[in-house]
């Protein structure tokens, strides 16, 4: 298996760990989610191009469509949080106190 895949899988794992460990901003976690989608797009494109699986070339594009949907939804939630509290800090999401 080519060596490029090892680096791209490692990039996905790094972005996943960045998503799961918060610092202060909610926006940074959304950026890590976008990074995961980018690494999945690159990985699936490389596999489709290497194995000449022509009909599966539409899969990265459909992945990008749903990633755009998800990014837009995440951003709209961040905008509403920012409208209520003035900034997008994760520590503001403390209505559920348990």
């Amino acid at each position: 298996m080519p060596l490029v895949y090892m680096n791209i899988i490692m990039a996905f794992a790094i972005a996943l760990m960045g998503l799961l460990m918060y610092r202060s901003h909610l926006m940074s976690s959304l950026l890590c989610l976008e990074g995961m989608m980018l690494s999945l797009f690159i990985m699936s494109t490389l596999i489709v191009l290497n194995t000449h699986f022509t009909l599966a070339s539409m899969m990265p594009i459909i992945l990008l469509v749903f990633a755009a949907c998800e990014a837009a939804l995440g951003l709209s939630l961040l905008v509403m949080v920012s409208n209520t509290y003035g900034n997008d800090y994760v520590q503001n999401l403390n209505l559920l106190q348990c």
């Binding site: 080519p2 950026l31 690159i42 459909i62 949907c69 961040l78």
Partner: protein, 175 residues
């Protein structure tokens, strides 16, 4: 060196990912994601996928990241944290870089690495050849098949985008 260009670009890809996963202020995270997107497009171009590389630049960087950029500008702070201004961010960035370079050094010393699959260095420039495709690009033909074989896929994605817009308008209505 041109044989290893895909591997070098993928190392720069991982460095960009470590750059935004170490969580500086989001505007600098966006810069790291833009760098990774450009380098990822370069990797895809090396394997012959010109249309999909263009999609990365046009739709991913030009569409999604622009939206992230101005949303970040809306919800940002007065003194944004760069990588060198905060010891936590710098420490995470440096340890991520060291992990990547140790992995690359190990892989280049032994010829292969086995985590779940066997990754070896031969696969980068030895690609499967399943016959001659003529004068047209296979990947562009496969994407064009979205409208013939994948009609239902187009309907489902179009409908889900429409529902996504409706959901976002309901969320941002406010009251």
């Amino acid at each position: 060196m041109t044989m290893y260009i895909a591997f070098i670009l993928s190392v720069i890809f991982v460095i960009g990912f470590v750059g935004f996963s170490s969580k500086p202020s989001p505007i600098y995270g966006g810069v790291g994601l833009i760098v990774s997107g450009g380098v990822g497009c370069g990797i895809v171009l090396n394997f012959g996928g010109s249309f999909l590389g263009l999609m990365v630049f046009l739709i991913y960087l030009g569409g999604m990241l622009v939206v992230f950029g101005y949303t970040t500008a809306m919800a940002t702070e007065v003194y944004p944290e760069v990588w060198v201004s905060n010891k936590t961010v710098l420490g995470v960035f440096v340890s991520g870089l060291m992990m990547e370079f140790c992995m690359v050094y190990y892989v280049l010393k032994e010829e292969e690495v086995e985590v779940v699959f066997k990754f070896n260095g031969l696969g980068d420039w030895v690609i499967y050849d399943t016959g001659d495709s003529g004068f047209f690009s296979e990947e562009a033909m496969g994407i064009a098949a979205l409208y013939s074989y994948g009609t239902w896929l187009v309907i489902v994605t179009g409908w889900s985008l429409l529902i996504g817009v409706v959901v976002i308008m309901e969320i941002t209505r406010g009251n």
